[in-house]
């Protein structure tokens, strides 16, 4: 089973994927996300770090055996066990399917909707309307972990009960997962939004 160090800034939903996967697989992942071991904007400029992680992106993983990888999906995959990766060719293909679909079809509209409410970008009404609902899986796999981590900000910032009652499958998936001990061990208590946050001018 993999073991190593994860470099990330705090509260990074991309890092949560690997950390929750490790809760299920038992992989030993040591997180460095605060000084003196980690300074956002500085650590990823040190030649030593860039030699291992040329793109300077976070999260970045360094195995105890020296194996380095920085794409969050690859880190989550590497610290997973076969159950999480999908134990049959069909299950493995469906994990790839939902991870790709989540990154390509959830992240852009979800970020377009949430970021303005955090005051970190302008509001784009059209794109916000593009938000979609997603199927609930059966057994927790990387697909569920990935989708739940991507939906996290939405449920914390803008998906007020009156709005998200239209997506029962997604609610069931999200609420079921965040109450699993392995999710709670990483995310803690997720405070769901009561009132849709508005664009923070």
């Amino acid at each position: 089973m993999a073991a190593g160090t994860l470099y990330t800034y705090p509260e990074n939903w991309r890092a949560f994927k690997a950390l929750i996967a490790a809760q299920y697989s038992g992989a030993q992942v040591h997180v460095l996300s605060a000084p003196p071991h980690f300074h956002f904007g500085q650590t990823n400029r040190i030649p030593e770090f860039l030699r291992k992680f040329p793109a300077g992106k976070f999260p970045a993983f360094e195995g105890d055996d020296g194996f380095c990888v920085f794409e969050s999906n690859a880190i989550a995959y590497y610290v997973s066990n076969e159950e999480l990766q999908g134990s049959t060719p069909e299950a493995a293909a469906q994990v790839v399917h939902w991870v790709s679909f989540a990154d390509s079809d959830i992240v852009p509209p979800a970020s377009t909707w949430v970021f303005p409410t955090l005051g970190i970008m302008h509001h784009n009404k059209q794109a916000t309307e593009n938000m979609k609902t997603f199927m609930a899986g059966k057994q927790v796999t990387l697909a569920d972990i990935t989708v739940v981590c991507i939906l996290l900000w939405l449920y914390k910032q803008v998906l007020e009960p009156s709005f998200c009652q239209a997506f029962p499958n997604t609610n069931r998936l999200f609420l079921t997962c965040i109450n699993q001990p392995q999710f709670r061990a990483v995310l803690g208590e997720v405070k769901l939004c009561e009132k849709m946050a508005q664009f923070d001018a």
Partner: protein, 31 residues
């Protein structure tokens, strides 16, 4: 606060425009 980091996230906000353009392109190509 975590939002200070989010602002550095690289997100393809215009993806839906490119998806629409790509779909129109191939629909045109396929008559």
């Amino acid at each position: 606060m975590a939002t200070n980091f989010l602002v550095h996230e690289k997100i393809w906000f215009d993806k839906f425009k490119y998806d629409d353009a790509e779909r129109r392109f191939y629909e045109q190509m396929n008559g």
